[in-house]
C-alpha cells in the first residue's frame, strides 16, 4: 500500500473512512443504550411483580373473598369475578359498536362525515380514562343513585371502542384492492363484498385488535373508581357495586396492612399474566397471518 504514491483524494478518503467507522460505532452504541432504557424497566417490572407477587398466590387467594381488615387470610375471588364480568360485558357492548364504526370508516367513510367520525374517534382515544369514569358517573350512576357493575362496563366499553374501531378500519384498509375487484367482478354487491370477502380477510387483525383493547381495559382502575366503585363482597349482580382487580389493587396497595400489600402484588402478577397469555394466544393463533398480510 505504501510502496506507491497515493493521490490526495485517496488519502482524504482514508481519513473520512476512519471517521465514518468511528461514528458508526458511536451511533450503534447510542441505539443499544436506548434499547436498554426501554427494556430494562420492563424486565424490572416483571421481576418485582414476580418476586413480590408469587408469595401471595395461593388457593384461598383465588377462592376466598376479602376478610376483615387486619385479619390474615382471605382472597380476592370477588375482584377476579367482578373484573371478568365487567370486562366481558364491556367487550359485548363495545366490540359490535367498534366494528360497525370501523367498517363504516373504511368502506363508506371516504367523505366529510367519515372524516368527522374519524376525528372524533381519535379524540376519544385520547380522553383520559378518569374523565371517562366521571362521564359515566354523571350519565348513569347519578341518575340511578347507586354505583353498579354495569356502569363500570359502560366506562370500559367507551375506552375500548376507539381502540378497536381504529384497528378495524386499518385492518380493513389493508385488504388488497384486487380482492374487492375480484368480488365486484363476480357480480357481488358492495355489502356482500364487505361482508363475505373484505371482513373475513381482515378478521385475524381485528381479533388481535380486540385482544389488545381487552388487555388495556382489564388493567384500568380510573374509570371504575366512580362507576363500579368496588365491593367487599362477592356479587355477580351487575346492578350493584362490583369489585375489580385494578380497584382492589389500588385500595390494598394504599392500605396499611402487610397482608393487603402481599395480595396487591399477587393481583398485579395475575393481571400481567392474563395480558401475557392473551398476547401469546393472539400470536399463536394469528401472528403469522397478520404479518404476512401487512
Amino acid at each position: 500500500m505504501t510502496t506507491f504514491d497515493r493521490s490526495a483524494i485517496q488519502v482524504r478518503s482514508d481519513r473520512l473512512y476512519r471517521r465514518r467507522k468511528l461514528l458508526n460505532h458511536a451511533v450503534t452504541g447510542l441505539m443499544l443504550l436506548a434499547v436498554a432504557c426501554a427494556v430494562v424497566p420492563l424486565f424490572l417490572i416483571l421481576f418485582y411483580v414476580l418476586k413480590d407477587g408469587l408469595p401471595g398466590l395461593s388457593v384461598h387467594f383465588f377462592t376466598q373473598n376479602p376478610v376483615a381488615p387486619g385479619t390474615p387470610g382471605g382472597g380476592v375471588h370477588n375482584a377476579i369475578v367482578g373484573s371478568a364480568i365487567m370486562v366481558g360485558l364491556a367487550v359485548l357492548i363495545g366490540v359490535p359498536v367498534a366494528i360497525g364504526t370501523g367498517v363504516f370508516l373504511s368502506e363508506y367513510g371516504q367523505n366529510r362525515f367519515g372524516s368527522t367520525v374519524r376525528f372524533v374517534i381519535e379524540v376519544m382515544a385520547g380522553i383520559p380514562s378518569i374523565t371517562v369514569g366521571l362521564f359515566v358517573y354523571s350519565l348513569i350512576v347519578v341518575r340511578q343513585h347507586h354505583f353498579s357493575g354495569f356502569a363500570g362496563a359502560v366506562a370500559l366499553a367507551i375506552i375500548l371502542i376507539p381502540i378497536v374501531a381504529r384497528i378495524t378500519e386499518e385492518m380493513l384498509l389493508l385488504v388488497p384492492r384486487s380482492l374487492r375487484e375480484a368480488s365486484y367482478a363476480l357480480g357481488a354487491p358492495r355489502w356482500k363484498t364487505v361482508l363475505s370477502i373484505v371482513f373475513p380477510t381482515a378478521l385475524p387483525g381485528i381479533i388481535t385488535g380486540i385482544m389488545l383493547g381487552l388487555s388495556r381495559i382489564a388493567g384500568e382502575a380510573a374509570p371504575l373508581l366512580f362507576t363500579s366503585l368496588g365491593n367487599e363482597f362477592y356479587t355477580t349482580n351487575i346492578t350493584s357495586a362490583m369489585d375489580s382487580l385494578p380497584t382492589r389493587i389500588y385500595s390494598y396497595a394504599t392500605g396499611p396492612y402487610d397482608n393487603w400489600h402481599k395480595q396487591a402484588w399477587a393481583m398485579s402478577l395475575l393481571l400481567v399474566a392474563i395480558i401475557l397469555v392473551i398476547s401469546l394466544a393472539v400470536r399463536a393463533l394469528f401472528g403469522s397471518r397478520v404479518t404476512v398480510r401487512q
Binding site: S178, A182, S183, L186, G187
Partner: protein
C-alpha cells in the same frame, strides 16, 4: 369512490340484458368485420376519463360471439381501461366517467336503471395478478360467485364447482385438495382457479386483463390452451402486451395506441391472421415488427 350499489331505484324497470329470446337489434349497421358471426358486444364511440384526464377516446368495436378478441398495444394505451368499461368496473376509479354506448346482446349496459351488479354477473373478469380469496378453500373460491348469485343447494354448488374446475383444466390437479386454501396453489394454478371462479357463474363474456403477465411461460401456455377450449362456450376478450400471445390465441386482434391528445385510440381491428400478416396501417406494421413499443 363511486357508489354503484346505492341508487338502484330503477331496478324494477331496468332492462334485463340478455334474457333468452332477445336478438341483437344492431345487426343491420354492423361493420363488415363481423357480418359472418353473431355480435356479443357492440361498443360505440366509447370514451373514458379518470377525473379530467381522457384515457380512451371514441373507440368503437364489435366483439364476435364465441371468439377470442385480443387487444394489444403499448403500456398506457388504454387497453385495460377499455375492457373495464365492458363490465362497468371502470366506475370504481375515483371520479371516473364513461361516454358512448356499449350494447351487450343489444342492451345498453349504461342505460339508466341498469344495475352494474347485474352487468358483472353476465360479464366476468380475470385479472392480471391471480387474486383468489385468501380466506376460502379452492372449492369455496369457485363457489363464491354462485353464492353471490343466490345458489344455495349444496349438490348444485358441488356439481358446478367440479365442472368449472374441469373447464379450467384444474380439476385433475386439485380434486383431492378441494378443501385446501386457494392461495396455497402455485401462481399458474391460482390463475386457473380464478378462471374457474369466473366461469362457474356461466357469464356470456369473459374479460381477461393480461391474465398471463404474472406467470411463467409454462403456466402461460396452459392458460392459452385453456382459452382455446373456453372460446367454444364463451366470448373472450383478452388484453395483452404480448403480441405473440395475441397471434397464438386470438381470432380477432385490435391495436390501440396513445394518440397525440394522450388518450388511447383504436388503430386497427381485423382478423388475427390478416392483422399480423397484412397490416393496413403503417403504425400497426411498425408495432408488430418491433420498431417501437
Amino acid at each position: 369512490m363511486t357508489d354503484l350499489q346505492t341508487g338502484q331505484s330503477g331496478r324494477a324497470t331496468a332492462p334485463r340484458p340478455g334474457q333468452p329470446g332477445q336478438h341483437p337489434q344492431q345487426a343491420t349497421d354492423s361493420p363488415p368485420i363481423a357480418k359472418d358471426r353473431e355480435i356479443a358486444i357492440s361498443a360505440r364511440d366509447v370514451s373514458a376519463w379518470y377525473g379530467p384526464k381522457l384515457a380512451i377516446s371514441g373507440i368503437s368495436m364489435e366483439i364476435k360471439k364465441n371468439a377470442i378478441t385480443a387487444l394489444i398495444g403499448p403500456s398506457g394505451c388504454g387497453k385495460s381501461t377499455y375492457i373495464r368499461c365492458f363490465n362497468r368496473m371502470h366506475e370504481f376509479a375515483p371520479n371516473a366517467r364513461v361516454a358512448g354506448t356499449i350494447l351487450v346482446d343489444g342492451n345498453d349496459i349504461y342505460a339508466p336503471g341498469v344495475d352494474p351488479v347485474r352487468v358483472r354477473q353476465r360479464i366476468g373478469m380475470v385479472f392480471q395478478k391471480p387474486n383468489p380469496f385468501p380466506t376460502m378453500s379452492i372449492a369455496e373460491n369457485v363457489a363464491a360467485g354462485l353464492r353471490f348469485m343466490g345458489v344455495r343447494s349444496k349438490a348444485e354448488i358441488g356439481d358446478r364447482v367440479e365442472s368449472a374446475l374441469k373447464l379450467a383444466a384444474l380439476w385433475e390437479e386439485v380434486k383431492d385438495d378441494l378443501k385446501k386454501p386457494g392461495i396455497a396453489l402455485s401462481g399458474g394454478q391460482q390463475q386457473r382457479l380464478c378462471i374457474a371462479r369466473t366461469i362457474a357463474v356461466e357469464p356470456e363474456v369473459v374479460l381477461m386483463d393480461e391474465p398471463c403477465s404474472a406467470l411463467d411461460p409454462v403456466a402461460t401456455l396452459k392458460i392459452e390452451d385453456l382459452m382455446r377450449g373456453l372460446a367454444e362456450r364463451y366470448t373472450i376478450i383478452i388484453v395483452t402486451h404480448n403480441m405473440q400471445q395475441a397471434a397464438r390465441v386470438s381470432d380477432e386482434t385490435a391495436f390501440l395506441l396513445m394518440g397525440e391528445d394522450g388518450a388511447g385510440q383504436l388503430i386497427e381491428y381485423r382478423s388475427t391472421a390478416d392483422f399480423f400478416t397484412n397490416p393496413r396501417d403503417k403504425r400497426t406494421e411498425d408495432y408488430i415488427t418491433g420498431r417501437f413499443g
